[in-house]
Symmetry: C2
Subunit: 329 residues, 2 copies
Amino acid sequence: MEKIKIGILGYGNLGKGVELSVRQNPDMELVGVFTRRDPSQLTLNTEGAVAYHIDQASEMKDKIDVLILCGGSATDLPVQTPEFTRYFNTIDSFDTHANIPGHYSTVDAIAKASNKVSIISVGWDPGMFSLNRMYAGAILPDGKDYTFWGKGVSQGHSDAIRRIDGVQDAKQYTIPVPQALDAVRSGKQPELTTREKHTRECFVVAKEGADLKKIEEAIKTMPKYFADYDTTVHFISQEELNEKHSGIPHGGFVIRTGVTGKALEHHHVIEYSIKLDSNPEFTASVLVAYARAAYRLSKEGNYGAKTVLDIPPAYLSIKSGAELRAELL
Amino acid sequence: MEKIKIGILGYGNLGKGVELSVRQNPDMELVGVFTRRDPSQLTLNTEGAVAYHIDQASEMKDKIDVLILCGGSATDLPVQTPEFTRYFNTIDSFDTHANIPGHYSTVDAIAKASNKVSIISVGWDPGMFSLNRMYAGAILPDGKDYTFWGKGVSQGHSDAIRRIDGVQDAKQYTIPVPQALDAVRSGKQPELTTREKHTRECFVVAKEGADLKKIEEAIKTMPKYFADYDTTVHFISQEELNEKHSGIPHGGFVIRTGVTGKALEHHHVIEYSIKLDSNPEFTASVLVAYARAAYRLSKEGNYGAKTVLDIPPAYLSIKSGAELRAELL
């Protein structure tokens, strides 16, 4: 069997997760990892795969079927996805929701001009959560969507705490409020405020001699990040933080409740949830499944930018249509 | 806007549900209902829609974009889907899992020869549950699937009880065992027996003078239907059955747990569940969403038999690709 040749751009948590996920998919092989750092300093986990400098990427265009872009949405992907879609079929996890339409248009024009496929905004939100919102909305047009995130680590919120004067290290968990979940599942379609949906729990290591009261106050009143939430702050030692809070768990819920019937008297609840030990490894696993779809679309000449909403589900699976019908339908 | 013209074949619970669902979708209109009964005896709930005898269906082939087949899988659909796909784009809810590959082949040949689209085995299982098994399996190749059904009414099991000597009426609920659900969600990938996964609860109205002990024994020892389950039997009056057990609720859970990481040390849980007040109305709502997809595929000339695994998600939605990207992604 001809294997699908995968390249990775960026070797942080997500890129490393993609490397590990490729090992779990026997129809794929990792060809190389591209980095802005000195490639000789990278130690890959894959026999036969090579670390390259990012400037060498375009030279590899005929040796890689799909390049998985593992940079961040703030500054990397808005530049990298358009640039590398000139040479490669690409997958990205662009997650700045408000800028997705613009990103799509930019990438679509380049992908079509270059005869490439680019599947953008892949992961779990956007990604699997978007899919579930769409399916549930199409089935129950009279209804209401709810999305809850957590329990999980928010890197952005953890970073925001670390920037506060006197803070040495910190980890922040976003937690859905159980009563809010129950209210949604009841089908009563409640209107929930930001504060009613999630709480925030912070584990903070203060620098020697820092004013704990002032740090706590700075966290709890931080606009956008914490002020609209019920926030709990725990001061702990660096050892305890390292020991108990070094993982990157996450998860969440997409729930739609809706009605059918002559008098819209029948209530229905559709719920999708994930509970992840490792957010980057799960996201990476979604990217890799969509890399298979990008490869197949490219073989068919179905070029352009795509999102998870455009991809026939069977394109993600290693199994054939006949196997899927016999085993999974 | 040109509306999608829908026909319904069969006017039982499912057909009536399709009629109600079409009213919730402003891009569709119901043209007619086809029945084996005397059409003058049908009272439709849709202004402008006409009841026809099934023998008139082929005459209507140019007036209907998609015909939704609402018969049963045992004897109706194996005949009707092939027959009516000669004249119409069709949707069916064929759910005899073991016979799906054969049904697919038969319908595919006819659909391709007739330039029609037929989406088979649509509903929730097969249907939405199949989709979720497939997505989760593609994302977490090292893992295990579990499907639980209920709490809900099984028509087949209720019918089986009604055939027992001395039984006047009956309703049977299939109930997932909470401890089994918890064991699965723990990620430990337990092997569960039939008995460990579901219990069965029966509400039975006995005929005057019937031997209750004998009825209970007959239920609990019935092979395939009840013998492999912990079954509870309650004898109640016809009035109580009518009052408390006249609904057709159902639901269920599809859970996949899997692992990622260097040493496969990270556990993940993906769970999809539905909780339905009306099984036929929910199933009908799924059929109607896929009718939209069949219409679009047919406009593209993408003919043949399809399943939910083949259909790009966006084809189900009334919204455009640009709207979906802006609002749902």
